[in-house]
Symmetry: C2
Subunit: 338 residues, 2 copies
């Protein structure tokens, strides 16, 4: 089969690779329906994370089951399935506590920008749809498997409540999906921090009521002004830098909550500052598996359309162009079709 390999910063190639095989009785093999490039794929692409030996890339997928291991009984070949970037058995204590992305048997996906993919923990990880969904829903379901699930988690961790005010820091695909999540959870006012007009438009389409283009303390001051001088109930941090975290913490009102879902790079939180702010802080890899049945329903019923975050569609063989377009911010998110 063919798939993407990263060789060095800026160097992603589409190559012939070994077909994936069932390695454990809990595995499944899927044929990729659609896959995509994630904002977090840009960390190594930009040289901000070490690459080491050339390796496959990609952790987002929806597809058709090709083959299942002997212990996989809940799904069967031919089904259309949605999964998560973090695989989980769905039976361990962490899964039962609602944190499948901290499953004791978790394996992070990393080979999905390819024609076929091996899914570990397939029984716990994959959710089959009721029949094969119309192709128009595939991008939305692909978003569910990572960026929408992650935005959803940002809103849950930030304790978004009906009638509350939410700020979303970050206007990448996750930030935009976080706007959808805040709206679905009933936030009355949703302030999106964004300085790119196309992303602002999408944020508004998804439910943002206000746009703030200023960053840092200027942005914080504006949020404060818009929230009666005290800050927002909930702040959804969808970037992962120290600057974004600072902006998020300062934008929350006393006793408000910050949900942080961008993998933190060089972020340290001062204990005393957090203490006197009364702000609650929770983050982590999104427990997408827990949300799957609900989010799949919302997409297939047409209630939400997170697939709109894909503003570039390419054949899988042009995966390198997907990376480049996102790196140069010409695209929010690149969809790849095998």
């Amino acid at each position: 089969m063919r798939g993407a390999m990263i060789h060095a910063p800026g160097d992603v190639r589409f190559e012939t690779l070994d077909d994936p095989k069932i390695l454990k009785p809990t595995d499944a093999i899927i044929r990729t329906a659609v896959t995509c490039v994630c904002g977090s794929d840009l960390w190594p692409y930009r040289g901000a994370e070490p690459i080491g030996d050339p390796h496959p890339m990609g952790h987002e997928y929806v597809g058709f089951v090709e083959e299942v291991g002997a212990e996989v009984t809940a799904i069967r070949p031919g089904q259309f399935v949605v999964g998560s970037f973090a695989t989980s058995d769905n039976t361990c204590p962490n899964c039962l506590n609602g944190f499948p992305s901290n499953c004791l048997h978790r394996e992070f996906m990393s080979t999905c920008q390819a024609e076929y993919v091996r899914i570990p923990n397939a029984q716990g990880t994959l959710v089959a749809t009721d029949g094969v969904p119309d192709e128009k829903f595939w991008p939305g379901l692909l978003a569910v498997s990572d960026v929408l699930g992650t935005g959803w988690w940002a809103a849950e961790a930030a304790e978004v409540r009906p009638g509350s005010t939410a700020v979303v820091v970050g206007d990448g695909a996750v930030g935009l999906c976080a706007v959808i999540a805040a709206k679905e959870m009933g936030a009355e006012r949703i302030i999106a921090m964004s300085r790119h007009s196309s992303r602002q438009k999408l944020a508004r389409a998804f439910g943002a009521t206000d746009i703030v283009t200023e960053r840092g303390e200027e942005g914080v001051a504006l949020v404060e002004e818009m929230t009666g001088g005290i800050g927002a109930d909930s702040v959804l941090e969808c970037v992962g830098t120290a600057e974004a975290m600072r902006q998020a913490l300062h934008s929350a009102r006393p006793g408000g909550s910050v949900g942080f879902v961008g993998v933190p790079h060089d972020v340290a939180v001062d204990g005393q500052e957090l203490f006197f702010s009364h702000v609650g802080l929770r983050g982590g890899p999104a427990p997408v598996r827990r949300y799957l049945p609900d989010l799949i329903d919302r997409v297939l019923s047409g209630r939400i359309d997170p697939g709109k975050v894909f503003d570039l569609t390419l054949p899988l063989e042009q995966v390198a162009e997907g990376y480049q377009a996102m790196d140069e911010r010409r695209a929010v998110k690149a969809l790849l079709k095998p």
Copy 2:
């Protein structure tokens, strides 16, 4: 009148001071019924916080209203009142959001180890009891005003739920009161980290089901073993050091919660570690005012007796001995009687 003044580390004196006066129409003056020494008073006493010029000490009090300012209508002279170490108007947005200890007009109390005390924001801060309570309840009500309120907040911030497992880090008066709070909120298993036999005894009397004497990673490993290998649902951090925070964060299960109520000294939290733990973190000065009516009821009904944390009772004039006894850990907490 007479009261305590700190002059230098280790040097607390009982001196003649000016009588407090109504300075603002929102003030009240109370005659102290009982007051006490707080673990946090030991930071300057031990030279771990700068002292500057000699100044009064103490932020815990219950007493009799002597005089009220023109705008104080809800309480009147002669009443017995309980307050909080953080004064609040109880009407600002932060108060209405449940965080009176972040009131826009907050003033921290700091002159309570004295015969008379001026209470700013008296209308919002003070709660009068129904008649003068029997003297046997005064220590319990004094605990409500700070250490029990703070332990209660630790349990709330750590999201203690019925049936859950809670770990309490710190066996000072706040930690011991946190055990009461966890029990009252329905925790089924309460693990107290303590290596002092008299404190262990009190922790058990308050509801601790298990005692762990080990500290650091050894203590963490034991908690993990006691909780099916994953850690506790809730951890109540009642110390404020970097070591205690590390121990707390590592003792929580994936997706668990840490409530931290010890004022942090040189504590920094690594963003990436917090991220992958899925642990929620919230702390701050306890919103005691919000709890007062409920906690006063629990004490006066005899349901709880947080006054037991006072294991040394001294006349107010011996305040210096109170500091010394607590510094040398001969006493958990010293009650002072004017």
